[in-house]
């Protein structure tokens, strides 16, 4: 294993101007997400909202949390965390989306079932 050189360097110091730029972008994106919510995009409203939220979160992680200047293994931990969350959401949702019950009704992804009493012959 190649030895990582641990020199006694001080931290990478992010200058305050970077923080000011980032906070201004974050505030603009907050305004953008509120604005986008008032436009009817149908199913894409949630996509836009989550895309903006993810962009904001990425900026916070990279600059406020210094991930951009962190060692590779810290970045790996962050990416692994996001990946595990994606497994949770993606696999659970695809299970529910593809489940069909004995009446042939997609359950519980369709609201219909909630109001239709069970059929008794």
């Amino acid at each position: 294993m190649a030895a990582h050189e641990y020199t006694d360097h001080t931290d990478h110091i992010v200058p305050p101007t970077t923080y000011v730029v980032i906070i201004l972008i974050l505030l603009c994106l907050t305004a953008a997400t509120v604005g986008a919510a008032y436009i009817n995009l149908g199913k894409f409203n949630i996509v836009v909202a989550l895309a903006i939220a993810t962009l904001k979160a990425t900026l916070v992680v990279l600059f406020f949390m210094h991930a951009k200047y962190s060692p590779e293994r810290t970045k790996l931990v962050i990416i692994a965390g996001i990946f595990w969350l994606a497994i949770l959401l993606f696999m659970t949702m695809s299970d529910y989306a593809s489940r069909v019950d004995y009446r042939g009704i997609r359950y519980p992804m369709s609201q219909r079932i909630v109001h239709v009493p069970a059929q008794h012959s």
Binding site: T10, T30, N45, A53, K56, V60, T74, W84, L88, L89
Partner: protein, 245 residues
């Protein structure tokens, strides 16, 4: 916890020691992602199935208060980042100033959250026996904090929502359970964060944080930013479900 920044035997350098602490904090934050992930999953599924009730519930929240709190929390992340910078560059007085500002903004957030929660109790929108999504429509005199215009708009929205989902009341309770569960868990994290910030503030008065040793400031900063990220997601998920009407 080592308070003076001495080098422990298992490390070669202080930089390596700090890197290890930072990695440990990140691993803790990843477990927090999964902790919030469970409730996010429950929210996602219920929102998908009971969209009309979730949209209705979301529109009863105050966008002004929620938006204001988003700005407050982003600003507190900025002051926290500046506190870390002050520690790294050895500006000892600035550390205390920025930590105080972060605590102050945290408490502004709590104050606004208190106003929002109180309003929900007042409007019978807390899940449980007395939950009634139609309360303000049926008792307009008791919801005196809402204007006649707002009440009218809400009854119109309620009418449409009931037409789409006859069991609106019980499904709206699911939305409010998610709302109180998620914002409550987030607020609990902020209480913990505020406690840690008070501890940092007290330590900062002794001048212990130096460019060579500021690990606690750095790690609490990571935690505080994480709590901010949770809110970055909660804001659109809870307040902005269906505003375009």
């Amino acid at each position: 916890m080592h308070r003076t920044g001495e080098l422990y035997g298992q490390y070669k350098t202080l930089a390596q020691q700090k890197e290890t602490a930072s990695l440990g904090m990140w691993i803790f934050l990843v477990t927090e992602v999964m902790f919030f992930g469970g409730i996010m999953m429950a929210y996602t599924l219920n929102r998908h199935v009971y969209f009309h009730a979730f949209a209705m519930g979301s529109n009863t929240l105050s966008l002004k208060l929620g938006g204001f709190n988003t700005v407050v929390l982003l600003a507190s992340s900025f002051t926290m980042a500046m506190a870390v910078w002050s520690a790294q560059t050895g500006k000892k007085q600035l550390i205390s100033i920025f930590l105080s500002l972060t605590i102050l903004l945290g408490f502004v957030f709590f104050g606004v959250k208190y106003v929002e929660y109180a309003q929900k109790f007042h409007h019978h929108l807390v899940p449980g026996k007395n939950f009634n999504i139609f309360y303000c429509r049926d008792n307009p005199t008791k919801c005196d904090d809402m204007s006649a215009e707002e009440l009218q708009e809400e009854s119109k929205e309620l009418e449409e929502a009931v037409a789409a989902d006859p069991d609106l009341n019980s499904h709206a309770q699911l939305y409010y359970s998610a709302y109180f569960g998620m914002t409550g868990l987030h607020a609990l994290h902020m209480v913990v964060g505020a406690g840690l910030l008070f501890w940092l503030l007290r330590t900062s008065f002794t001048g212990r944080f130096t460019p060579e040793w500021n690990t606690p400031v750095d790690l609490v900063g990571l935690y505080w930013h994480f709590v901010d990220i949770v809110w970055i997601y909660l804001f659109p998920l809870l307040y902005l479900i269906d505003r375009h009407k």
